[in-house]
Symmetry: C2
Subunit: 302 residues, 2 copies
């Protein structure tokens, strides 16, 4: 089994109440692969500029991530800088420089098209469809998106949503898309567009999975300190799809366990800046945290 | 078994995106009693003015609530008016007129002092202690509080916290009290003051129970429409303590089930303005919603 991820590999500058980092490796495909590779085989498609310090994602290759799909293009790597203020609940993008990402078109190296699961991280919905057309045999497809595409490429996004199995986004984005305060109403609106399942990410509160049969709420663990929330959503996707690919089962019980894996793996990401915590993360640590989720969320008997 | 509740009986004027009501019966003791009385015997202590339309809380007496402790004092009833704006996450108090509540001192009618469980809703921590001194034999005591007391009567509040078994508040209030973004850190800080347990209410996200052994997260159900969030916290307390009093057991499994009862009962409150939904609520409906909580939050196997 294997997963294809198409997204960004970037250089992030981040400031939080806990400190700041400058031009550290980030990007949705990086975060996703760092986690999913602890579960299964990952095929990565992204683009960087000639300035990218490839040794900084050497740990992905060491975990077996196939990086043949990482295009290196003359120019500068995608850069994002942002600031989080927890107490006032502010996430502010200070600067986005797409650079080589502006002209990115996903090219799948030979063999990638046979990936069992496809995750299209938050990129232009036009590009997401370009990939979908190349992987028509996938067992499971999932897309992430963001407010920018909801506001500026709504029709294209809706078209892409109609082609996939699972749509994921943050709850604020779901409210924006559905023009409703209720994430349940928003999720049901998305289901009507075609996908079988919607996963709404709720940050420190976990996530909700909604399908035609109902919904499931997965909790998050409580943390004493969040150093940097960047990448939590992509690592959620990495744990969620990584687990599903590993067990090769898409039943309701498997999906529920997968959401817990997603929330558990995301909880590691925020413990350190950038991908620092993920570099050393082990499957044993994930198993321990999964057990913690059982401890703090199960009822002994209903 | 029986529960003593000391709090407010008020006339609320509320505006939400779903509509508005003027001078409807509200108050923490009203909401609490409306729910707790579906589980067990409730002894109510509060004060209203001579202008209070007592027939509006007749439904409490019909559910067996002992209202001998409802003082009627010459003057006007406590009035609160507020506005909720969900999309911008605003809860705004427009006006608070304490009226007869300003000079309130809880007086326990004969027999009330033998209540097994005591709930001191959000009132002056000095008054909470006045009650605690009269109910030294209670099996379980719990207080609620709010930002006003944290900011203006911190020392008194801390003294009161040291005297009770359970402290509850909203997560924003916990952060304010603990001067930390982490509700886990905040809760642990409160535990150091003396109580055995802290319950942090998280609105649409459920609640967290924290004690020396760890924590437990209880989910909330997803709603398509929230007409009026007023009283949700007090009805949470009503379901939580009502269940515990009914089963007369304070073990960890019972506490966990009780938090689900609290979240389930609170979910009814917000379906209509004021106490409208609670007037007709039945134990059968609560049992059905409890089952829904099982359906949307359990894992088939870990």
């Amino acid at each position: 089994m294997s997963i294809l991820v198409v997204g960004s590999v970037a250089l992030d500058s981040v400031e939080t109440p806990m400190g700041k980092v400058t031009e550290e490796v980030g990007g949705s495909a990086t975060y996703f692969s760092a986690i999913a590779s602890l579960y299964t085989n990952v095929n990565l498609v992204a683009v960087v500029g000639t300035d990218f310090p490839k040794e900084k994602i050497q740990f992905l290759s060491e975990r077996g991530v196939d990086t043949r799909g990482l295009q290196v293009v003359e120019g500068e790597t995608f850069r994002w800088s942002g600031r989080y203020d927890y107490m006032s609940n502010i996430t502010e993008t200070i600067d986005t420089r797409l650079n080589v990402f502006a002209d990115f078109h996903p090219v799948l190296p030979e063999g990638y098209e046979k990936s069992d699961i496809v995750f299209l991280a938050n990129i232009d919905p036009d590009l997401q469809r370009e990939v979908l057309e190349q992987v028509s045999g996938a067992k499971l497809t999932m897309i992430d998106t963001m407010d920018f595409w909801i506001e500026n490429k709504r029709d294209s996004l809706i078209k892409t949503m109609s082609m996939v199995d699972i749509v994921t986004m943050n709850e604020g984005e779901a409210r924006l898309l559905g023009e409703t305060e209720s994430i349940l109403t928003a999720a049901r609106g998305i289901l009507e567009l075609g996908p079988n399942m919607v996963i709404i990410k709720r940050g420190e509160y976990g996530c909700v999975k909604v399908d035609m049969d109902g919904y499931f709420t997965a909790p998050a663990c409580l943390l004493e300190q969040v150093k940097d929330p960047t990448g939590a959503g992509d690592t959620f996707a990495g744990g969620f799809l990584g687990y599903l690919d590993q067990v090769d089962e898409f039943s309701e019980p498997a999906i529920r366990r997968a959401t817990i894996h997603g929330c558990a793996t995301a909880s590691f990401t925020v413990e350190e800046f950038g991908v620092a915590r993920l570099r050393t993360l082990t499957t044993e640590e994930i198993a321990e945290r999964y057990q913690e989720f059982y401890n703090f969320s199960h009822l002994h008997d209903w």
